[in-house]
């Protein structure tokens, strides 16, 4: 049984305080098998949108999304974020060109799939790639490498020709793991966007811009801030809102002195 006394701090049982002061709150009852509520629907139907209509998103709608982002939880309430909103097509194209060029260089130097098996270039790049793979296994996962080469070959875009790009800048002095706080803040933003009929996509390749002094100056990225992620925003093409199938994941359930594995 749950023992309230076991979690009592400062000698007070919080639930007793609640009762004594006459401010007792109701416990929300959720019936088994109930329909998804509005918030759950938004979460389940959000997809990463990479094809946008040309129409620009009104400025007040973007402000509204950032306002929700501002209320994200963060470690020690340190709020290690700052935003750069880019809405000029020429500037977004410039950012795109820079990131595409970076992908080209990386793909040429690391992705041995570009070269015929058995060739010297294949051997050379593969040897290099295997080493880098060991040094930074998160970056050289086969999926982003495939995306990088697709971008290099012009089959895939970095910012997906979106009308608005929000750069999430991270204060690198943030408490604990500020990357996580940026992720939570951005999740607020993309879910708000979904609820407002907008499509969004997280753009990790935007981090390449940190390497360009010119772009850091143009975008106002200065130490101790750095670009952590970007979010593209726009109206999606079609209705990409149908529910989809996804992996289920292991859940270890510890209750009643037993451990059960669920999916």
């Amino acid at each position: 049984m749950f023992d309230a006394n076991a979690v009592t701090l400062r000698g007070e049982d919080p639930e007793e305080v609640e009762t004594e002061t006459g401010h007792r709150s109701e416990i929300t009852q959720v019936p088994e098998g109930a329909d998804w509520n509005a918030v759950e629907e938004v979460m389940l139907r959000r997809r990463s949108i990479r094809k946008y209509k040309h129409a620009q998103v009104p400025a007040h709608v973007i402000r509204r999304m950032l306002e929700v982002g501002r209320y994200a939880p963060s470690q020690g309430n340190c709020q290690p974020w700052k935003f750069v909103v880019v809405r000029d097509a020429a500037t977004i194209q410039g950012m795109e060109d820079f990131c595409v060029e970076t992908c080209r260089k990386l793909s040429r130097g690391l992705d041995y799939v570009n070269y015929p098996k058995g060739s010297f270039r294949h051997f050379l790049t593969r040897t290099k790639a295997k080493l880098f793979n060991r040094l930074s296994p998160n970056l050289l996962h086969p999926v982003p490498v495939a995306a990088m080469t697709a971008i290099a070959q012009g089959q895939f875009a970095v910012f997906h020709r979106a009308p608005t790009v929000i750069l999430l800048l991270m204060d690198t002095r943030g408490i604990g793991t500020p990357e996580i706080d940026i992720g939570i803040c951005g999740t607020n933003i993309v879910l708000a966007a979904q609820s407002l009929g907008l499509g969004t996509c997280w753009i990790g390749f935007s981090k390449f811009l940190n390497k360009s002094r010119e772009w850091c100056v143009r975008l106002g990225v200065e130490k101790p801030y750095e670009i952590s992620e970007a979010i593209t925003v726009g109206y999606p093409v079609g209705h990409p809102q149908h529910l989809i199938a996804r992996d289920t994941h292991e859940i270890a359930w510890l209750e009643g002195g037993k451990k059960e594995i669920l999916y």
Binding site: W36, K51, H239, P240, D247
Partner: protein, 109 residues
């Protein structure tokens, strides 16, 4: 205690070996597909194409493709429920998928 063996931890799969990098093939229900092309457009990995005569085009997976991430954006945009990925991608060695169950639609509890 570790889920990956020492050998697995040291083995990084070859990106150009389909037995080491298993990108899933999405399944298309040809009877339901109306050839609207939206799945081809939204696929982030450029895996899909249309084929067939004008007026009766259908979507299919390209002969050679790389990088289907089972994101199911194709399923999300298909108005006819004609296309879906039913398995995640998987790799050998260091990137072997762990702790996954069956693919499932959202389940109500």
């Amino acid at each position: 205690m570790a889920l990956l063996s020492k050998t697995e931890r040291r083995h990084f799969p070859d990106w150009d070996d389909p037995t080491e990098c298993v990108f899933h093939r999405v399944a298309v229900d040809e009877a339901a597909c109306d050839g609207c092309k939206l799945c081809v457009i939204v696929c982030p990995a450029n895996v899909l194409e249309l084929y067939g005569a004008k007026g009766s085009k259908k979507a299919r997976v390209k002969e050679r493709y790389r990088g289907c991430a089972s994101c199911n954006n194709c399923q999300a945009i298909c108005e006819n429920g004609a296309i879906a990925a039913l398995r995640p991608y998987d790799f050998v060695g260091f990137y072997r998928q762990l702790g996954r169950g069956e693919f499932s639609m959202p389940r109500k509890f």
